[in-house]
């Protein structure tokens, strides 16, 4: 019993070591069987759905290839740096069962595959959760249903900001509660809610869900609204773990990956700001400024970006076990 109490008290890093040692020795046959079962389940997933997704992706790629090239050329003309995109790691999940395991998912990827602590989990529908503990070959994640989960969100029009936390609505359905919302702010029912990027944990623009109605009063001059999340807990069998931002060829906002059009555009392009403080005078830091300051020119009103509603998953997929080639280095040619 003293040993048990010690096990409870040891730091998480040592827990992982002990757990990994047990899993890779005594319980190795069972974990191997579990991996096999997961792979079989993934192999026999709904083929028609996969075929539909593949066809949509193919048609999207054909339609967008010229636009992407055009955007790259225009950005190069304006002196903008290539925008950072997010890499992602595909993972299969296994829901943990037992007391205290509500909302916990075991992921089939770990640090070896590039997964980092607190990395967001997404699907084609939107936000799932975040990585809560990272092992070498597997990780643990919490989804949005687990108590203690919180994400900074906003409506797509940028009018309503708040923190979404898990809650039960009056029908005892598990939803997210958006709070605190200022009393004068009334988001429409059905409004799409996306991550706001506040706090830096979740990138801006990942769809979270839709507003389904007003909840109980938060007290004072604040309101609470219920959000029905885009991703149902039953649809979390396959997820994507977002990696670190890296230079890529996509120049789209993360929100556009889900076909969401943010009406409240970002104030300035940070990548462009580093090169040219004023987008109308590209390459400005590279040239000597004239002695006479130029007259201020009227700035055009910012127009919302045109976004194709077809979903796209940005970034470069990284598959477990595949060697990772750093950006800028060409992989060796395949031998015949």
């Amino acid at each position: 019993m003293v040993l048990s109490a010690l096990l409870l008290a040891i730091p998480p890093a040592y827990r992982d070591t002990v757990g990994h040692a047990v899993r890779s020795t005594v319980l190795y046959p069972v974990t191997a069987m579990q991996h096999g079962a997961n792979e079989r389940a993934a192999r026999y997933a709904d083929a028609s759905r996969l075929r539909g997704e593949r066809d949509s992706l193919a048609s999207y790629l054909v339609g967008q290839s010229s636009l992407a090239q055009e955007n790259r050329e225009l950005r190069a003309l304006l002196g903008f740096r290539p925008r950072l995109t997010y890499s992602f790691v595909p993972a299969e999940t296994d829901r943990l069962s037992g007391p205290g395991s509500n909302g916990m998912l075991q992921l089939s990827v770990g640090t070896r595959d590039g997964v980092r602590m607190d990395a967001p989990l997404v699907t084609a529908e939107g936000l799932v959760g975040k990585v809560s503990r990272v092992g070498e070959t597997s990780s643990l994640a919490t989804d949005w249903t687990r108590e203690g989960f919180a994400v900074a969100v906003m409506t797509v029009d940028g009018e309503t900001y708040g923190i979404a936390t898990p809650a039960d609505d009056p029908h005892q359905e598990r939803v997210l509660a958006l709070t605190p919302v200022a009393f004068h702010t009334v988001p429409d029912t059905g409004s799409i809610v996306v991550t706001s990027g506040d706090g830096g944990l979740f990138p801006r623009g990942i769809p979270v869900g839709k507003v389904i109605g007003q909840g109980k009063q938060a007290g004072g001059w604040q309101r609470t609204y219920y959000i029905r999340p885009s991703v149902n807990p039953a649809e979390m069998a396959h997820v994507l773990v977002l990696g670190e931002p890296q230079p890529g060829r996509s120049d789209q906002d993360l929100a556009t990956a889900w076909g969401v059009r943010l009406m409240q555009t970002q104030v300035a392009d940070t990548s462009a700001r580093a090169v040219a403080p004023d987008a109308a005078t590209p390459m400005a830091p590279l040239r000597p400024r004239p002695a006479q300051p130029a007259a201020p020119r009227p700035r055009p009103r910012p127009q919302p970006r045109r976004v194709d509603p077809t979903p796209e998953l940005p970034g470069r997929p990284v598959f477990p076990g595949q060697p990772r080639v750093p950006p800028g280095i060409e992989p060796p040619p395949a031998r015949p």
Binding site: L3, S4, L7, M33, N38, G98
Partner: protein, 158 residues
């Protein structure tokens, strides 16, 4: 549960433990599969000394905590206490009749779930009281029924 040799009983308990992990983890059945770990410990602790039963509970809890990360440490402590109490229960709970066994398994499984809940609550992951009561009662009834079936099977085979 006094029939059979020592080795037969040992193999039977080990089979229950292996079956627990195969069903719950290997085949991914989760809580759909009965908690054979508790049943194995409760059966074994009736034949072991309190210290040995607690050590067995610790080992089984370590295995359980390795595959269910949230239970790491908690399962070891709860199963060690359960093994100790199961061994001491021989002093006041005698008999091998089905009713006694069902009550023994039910009380043991319920106590295990209660201890887990308290330990997880101390760690800040307990959840609501309703999340304890109904699933724990169902799991305990399930464990009692399967435990009775397992002990009957052992008597038939031994």
């Amino acid at each position: 549960m006094t029939e059979g040799t020592r080795w037969t009983f040992l193999v039977f308990v080990a089979a229950l433990v292996v079956l627990h992990f195969v069903l719950r983890v290997g085949l991914g059945l989760g809580i759909l599969a009965p908690d054979l770990l508790v049943i194995a410990l409760l059966l074994a602790s009736r034949r072991l000394r309190p210290g040995t039963a607690a050590a067995l509970g610790f080992f089984l809890g370590l295995l359980e905590g390795s595959v269910v990360d949230t239970l790491f440490g908690s399962a070891s402590l709860a199963l060690a206490v359960l093994g100790y109490l199961g061994s001491r229960s021989r002093e006041w709970l005698a008999g091998d009749d089905p009713l006694t066994l069902v009550a023994y398994f039910f009380a043991g499984a319920l106590l295990y779930n209660l201890m887990l809940y308290v330990l997880l609550a101390v760690g800040g992951a307990g959840g609501s009281l309703m999340a304890l009561v109904i699933p724990s009662l169902l799991a305990s009834v399930y464990a009692a029924a399967v435990g009775l079936g397992a002990s009957t099977l052992y008597r038939t085979l031994a």
